[in-house]
């Protein structure tokens, strides 16, 4: 990841039409953007769609970056929006056709199979969607509670409470590995 100064310089160049600068910005942030979209959508295919949507939307919105937030925050916010849109579309589709419900991601296939990683991913998977989305936006994307509240359509105080409770639940789950034996996929 680049520093904030580097990000801003790249964004200014990209805004003037320098595609190479935008590509560099993409390369610098793809990892974290994908981490956010994957944990929100919980499906690699949906996460990839959201990843592509996020950078396409960011490019189209380059001239609307106000400079009040960090470039990275602005990008992760766009990514979170794209991921939440994908989830909303999926939920709508599932309500129309339950047979088409996506299967939970095979987490052990997706990531390095360290015990620590598996435990963390399983703990995240065990959270309710509301808690997981808030926690991912806070601790992976680094968004503040106000931004999380805006994205999820809840007051900042509720966002803060969800983040704290989600983090506490993950910590508790990590203390009790046996709890993962009964963890099921989303809904």
């Amino acid at each position: 990841m680049l520093g904030q100064g580097g990000d801003e310089a790249l964004l200014r160049r990209a805004r003037r039409g320098d595609r190479a600068a935008f590509d560099e910005l993409v390369r610098a942030h793809t990892g974290r953007v994908y981490a956010v979209t994957l944990r929100i959508t919980r499906n690699p295919s949906d996460a990839e769609d959201a990843l592509q949507d996020a950078f396409l939307n960011a490019y189209r919105a380059l001239d609307r970056f106000g400079g009040r937030a960090k470039v990275s925050t602005w990008l992760y916010r766009i990514a979170a929006n794209a991921a939440l849109d994908v989830v909303a579309r999926r939920r709508a589709a599932v309500s129309l056709d339950d047979d088409a419900a996506p299967q939970p991601a095979a987490l052990t296939d997706l990531f390095a199979a360290s015990a620590q990683r598996q435990a963390l991913e399983a703990a995240l998977a065990a959270l309710s969607d509301e808690f997981r989305e808030a926690l991912v936006l806070s601790d992976i994307a680094g968004l503040g509670t106000t931004e999380i509240g805006e994205l999820l359509g809840i007051p900042p105080g509720t966002a803060k409470s969800r983040v704290f409770r989600a983090r506490t639940q993950v910590a508790e789950l990590l203390r009790e590995p046996s709890a993962f034996d009964t963890v099921e996929g989303p809904r």
């Binding site: 805004r15 039409g17 935008f22 590509d23 690699p44 592509q52 380059l62 601790d139 910590a171 203390r175």
Partner: protein, 155 residues
């Protein structure tokens, strides 16, 4: 895994998830999609941001106001000290004009004292009016510059 993970430890672990690179095939596909779907130039490219335009406008307004104030201050002072070169030349022209008018008075030339009064008005402009004109010109220039900067920033 820590044996007794605290909330801070959970936060650190989750943050570390974002430090990992995306899978190579995901990155390849992303690059292909961006190459195929992004326009060569982003919307609004080359347009100044509203924030920058505001900074430019503020930057221009200061010096232009100072220029107006200086114009206001300098013109009366020059008048008090006589502004010798310019007024002298103009007075010489006026004297010629008066002589010509006296030799061959035409229908437009005022008779007698009226002629010299006319000359005086044209060759010795009111210093207060000149200062006001200068200030107004500076204000107009400042307004035009600010308006141009803001228009440039507006889609």
């Amino acid at each position: 895994m820590t044996s007794d993970p605290t909330n801070d430890a959970v936060r650190a672990l989750l943050h570390a998830l974002g430090d990992e690179p995306a899978p190579a095939d995901v990155i390849d596909r992303l690059e292909r999609v961006l190459a195929a779907q992004l326009p060569a130039v982003p919307p609004g490219a080359g347009r100044r941001s509203p924030r920058r335009a505001r900074r430019i406008a503020i930057g221009l307004a200061g010096p232009l106001v100072v220029a107006g104030v200086v114009a206001f201050a300098v013109v009366p002072r020059n008048d008090r000290t006589g502004v010798p070169a310019l007024n002298g030349a103009v007075n010489a022209e006026a004297a010629k004009g008066s002589a010509a008018a006296g030799a061959a008075p035409g229908p437009t030339a005022p008779a007698g004292g009226a002629s010299s009064m006319f000359d005086t008005v044209t060759t010795h402009p009111d210093p207060t009016a000149a200062a006001a004109n200068g200030l107004a010109a500076a204000a107009r220039a400042a307004y035009a510059a600010v308006e141009a900067a803001l228009q440039h920033a507006t889609p």
